[in-house]
Amino acid sequence: MGKTIVCDSSSLISLAETCNLGVLSFLQEDFKADFVIPATVENEIVGRPSKVGRFSYTAARIRHLVNESVLRVVANPSVASEAEKIMARANSLFYAEKPDRPLKILQQGEAECLALLAPLQSKALLVDEKTTRLLLEDPKKLFSLMKAEHPQTGANEKAMAEFQKQFPFPAMRSTELTAFAAQNGFFEPYNADENEVFHASIYALRYAGCGISQKEIDDYQKMRV
């Protein structure tokens, strides 16, 4: 049985921009990974950008993965409907000054990813952007970061805890995905340069959009494959 991993557009963008989309087919073949995207994410990273010249190359490469069944698109009305409910809940967790001024923090694509996790019995959410990841891992940290920017921010802390509980799935970033693939031979074709290429790929992912800290980069640099 495939290990289903729901993918947010942020991670796929990072992997595409660093020529690391091959990690997906590598893990699919060697570990029976089943990479899934909801319809809105497909439109975000394939449909819409394919019509804009400067983004069309990345869109075409990702579309190829869909055509080759490396990326599986799940599109049905129940996902969209569940995503609406998730968005409504997420977008009422925090407010500006008063609870009747909720802050919109998630949009459709991110909510559809969350909506797919349970029905597909997923192993993880692949996501580079921080808000969705923090909602799963540490919503209190997200709240404190928001308060640091805007001190009058408030939160429904009970709803925050319930939201986190609803999604007991690990969040994984493109860096962990690539590092795991590296540990299992993804960069072996580079022979003696294997480690150098692996370490360089982490830097590349950082600057392509995977928001990792300098300490995390340093920790990846210490890894030997």
Binding site: F55, E176, Q183
Partner: protein, 180 residues
């Protein structure tokens, strides 16, 4: 800060060619855009940033198009303020949108530089919104910046330093479990 205050401060800063204040307002307007989820705040943020950058370039100030642009922009902002003060929200917003179009039209005279400023302004606004707590998708949607470019722009800042939860070692353990 309310919208009327935004208009007053923007108009004043531009009239006085106050570059630091325009840049400061650009960030503040973007933050307020997240608080109110209002695109007009983003437009104001872009206008403020673009004006700051224009004022930094002597060749732009010397260009024949500049005087006419300056007069038109000040007039639009003044009229938007009058509309807002009279309770006419939609006409006020329309004038802000028109002010942004003025800046975009300036590109016809000044070329690629103007286009680059507007795109940069959207990225800065998007990054500000992201810093306030919005997801990448929400920040891109509200600011009008492209997700891919916004993601890369944010990653090059010090923002990711704040978002650490688990250690790399823990994450790699998780990955091992996920694929086992």
């Amino acid at each position: 800060m309310d919208f009327k205050q935004h208009l007053i401060l923007l108009r004043k800063a531009f009239e006085k060619s106050n570059i630091p204040e325009l840049k400061r307002l650009s960030g503040e307007f973007a933050g307020d855009a997240f608080i109110h989820y209002r695109k007009e705040n983003i437009q104001m943020s872009i206008i403020a940033y673009a004006c700051a950058k224009f004022l930094e370039k002597p060749y732009i100030l010397a260009d024949p198009a500049w005087d006419s642009f300056r007069k038109s922009l000040l007039s639009l902002l003044e009229k938007a303020l009058q509309d807002w003060s009279s309770g006419k929200q939609a006409p006020a917003f329309a004038k802000v949108a028109k002010a942004l179009s003025l800046i975009e039209r300036l590109g016809a005279d000044l070329g690629r530089f103007v286009f680059g400023i507007i795109e940069k302004a959207k990225l800065k606004a998007g990054a500000e919104i992201y810093a306030h707590g919005a997801s990448l998708g929400t920040a891109a949607e509200l600011s009008g910046a492209e997700k891919k470019e916004l993601s890369s722009y944010i990653a090059a800042t010090r923002m990711p330093e704040k978002y650490v939860t688990k250690s790399v070692a823990q994450r790699m353990q998780d990955a091992k479990k996920i694929f086992s």
